[in-house]
């Protein structure tokens, strides 16, 4: 490109974005400066040529996933002992990890979206301070009756902690470490979540190492997300059964390629045949990985 006095205005001029006065001055300059006139003509020809390229046609039909775009949902009440007077669920660990549920309706929403799970976003207005828990502490509370999603406001499990930024690339984050064969990855177009464990089956009281990463699809920034263990689900589960919520935490010295893993303990009260879900909440969605109790 030939340098000129008005080169910085070429693109705006092409788009017709210059004011009448600015355009008049621009045209006057082109009349006096052959280099700018030639360069602007060159840019115009190049962009016109691009714009004149015919629109292509998708060569085969798009196949949509099975099911409804809005998944079915399961509903859990906020554990009663944590909602007293606060209408809020929070687990505050020694590592500073906070997981809070929505304030207003005092329910935690966990819904399935194909292979993943959705945790709808919620308002945090009016929240009070959280409840301090030791790392990996389990909370037990009654499981209420399922309710119609359409009848309740969209509230949910909302991690109010800031995920810890990790100095690794998206490709590195997506590369699940050797020895973590039980894994799930979900990309909702905004974020990609990855969660993996060393096995798919654990005994009651067992320690579970968790590989969890959250990647922003635009910036490709990688973080260690706020992760939650919830359960149990079993064929015999029914409204009124207890459920557990625990917050996996980083453990000193537990790393892969120098980056942290999370760890959580399966509740000692877990029973063979039950399943628990490890959730990685992302904006408007979450990745879910199920583990079996053996």
């Amino acid at each position: 490109m030939v340098s000129g006095h008005v080169e910085s205005l070429f693109s705006a001029a092409y788009d017709g974005e210059l004011s009448p006065d600015a355009r008049a001055a621009f045209d006057r300059h082109l009349g006096e400066c052959s280099a700018c006139a030639a360069a602007f003509a060159e840019l115009t020809t190049a962009v016109d040529t691009l714009r004149e390229q015919p629109r292509a046609q998708m060569p085969h039909p798009v196949r949509l996933p099975e099911g409804s775009p809005v998944p079915g949902r399961r509903w859990f009440e906020v554990p009663a002992r944590l909602s007293q007077g606060r209408r809020r669920l929070a687990g505050l660990t020694a590592a500073g990890l906070v997981v809070a549920a929505a304030a207003a309706a005092a329910v935690v929403v966990v819904g399935h979206l194909n292979s993943g799970t959705v945790v709808p976003s919620s308002s945090s207005a009016g929240m009070s301070s959280g409840v301090a828990l030791a790392p990996g502490t389990a909370i037990r509370a009654p499981l209420p009756s399922p309710q119609s999603a359409s009848l309740l406001p969209e509230v949910g499990l909302l991690p109010v902690c800031s995920p810890k930024a990790l100095p690794i690339s998206k490709a590195e984050a997506l590369e699940i470490p050797t020895g973590f064969p039980n894994h799930a990855t979900e990309d909702n177009g905004v974020s990609t979540g990855v969660v993996a464990t060393q096995a798919s089956s654990f005994a009651p009281g067992a320690t579970v190492d968790i590989y969890a990463r959250l990647i922003d699809d635009s910036s490709h920034a990688v973080s260690l997300p706020c992760t939650v263990l919830v359960g149990p689900q079993s064929s015999s589960s029914s409204p009124g059964d207890d459920f557990t919520m625990a917050v996996p935490t980083p453990v000193a010295g537990l790393t892969v390629d120098g980056q942290p893993l999370l760890q959580v303990t399966v509740p000692a009260t877990a029973v063979a045949g039950e399943t628990y879900d490890i959730l990685v909440p992302a904006p408007d969605a979450a990745v879910i990985l199920t583990i079996q109790i053996s």
């Binding site: 693109s11 629109r55 709808p120 359409s150």
Partner: protein, 191 residues
């Protein structure tokens, strides 16, 4: 029915409401992906993946138009798929050097067809030579003709950044095409 009305129906779980959005945007997204990746098979995969992701997340879309959102997802898919497949085998619609063989327009005579092919080839090579952010900017603006505001939504950057990227990209595109006789016939005479 406009995009927002269809989106409302999607949010209520109406699967059928998604199909008109696919028909409305598939060719536009395919054209964008073809210009970004330079490869028909990759572009088709981009469109398929875009609608798969959108189907899962569109009901929860907030703060952007459906069109801008779809372009945002498609740009991310293009980036991911093109990077993953950079070493894949040549596509049947490419020649031995990996160039896309556009099908000729049957309404054009032999000379015009050759010129059309040469221009398409020059454009493809010039676009692929641009840095990714600039390629995306000029394609969204001059292939898909998104507004500055739609581009800002699609790329999650301020409008000022959109304008500066378009400006820089157009300058680079013009420089890359300068020696193409199909685009600038005078360059041919100089040879």
């Amino acid at each position: 029915m406009d995009d927002e009305a269809l989106l409302d129906r999607c949010r209520r779980g109406d699967r059928d409401a998604f199909t008109p959005l696919v028909h409305r945007y598939q060719d536009e997204l395919y054209t964008m992906a073809l210009r970004l990746t330079g490869n028909p098979a990759d572009a088709a995969d981009v469109v398929q993946e875009t609608f798969t992701r959108a189907f899962r997340s569109l009901p929860r879309l907030r703060g952007a138009t459906v069109r801008a959102w779809l372009f945002r997802v498609a740009v991310n898919c293009s980036h991911d798929i093109h990077r993953q497949r950079s070493r894949r085998p040549a596509d049947p619609l490419e020649d031995s050097e990996g160039r896309v063989l556009d099908l000729p327009d049957p309404g054009l005579g032999p000379e015009a067809t050759v010129l059309q092919r040469e221009r398409a080839d020059a454009i493809r090579i010039a676009l692929l030579a641009l840095p990714h952010d600039f390629r995306v900017a000029v394609v969204l603006r001059d292939v898909n003709q998104l507004s500055y505001e739609e581009m800002a939504q699609a790329l999650s950057v301020p409008v000022g950044t959109v304008k500066s990227r378009i400006s820089r990209a157009r300058g680079l595109l013009a420089a890359a095409l300068r020696q193409s006789p199909a685009v600038f016939p005078r360059a041919e005479e100089a040879w």
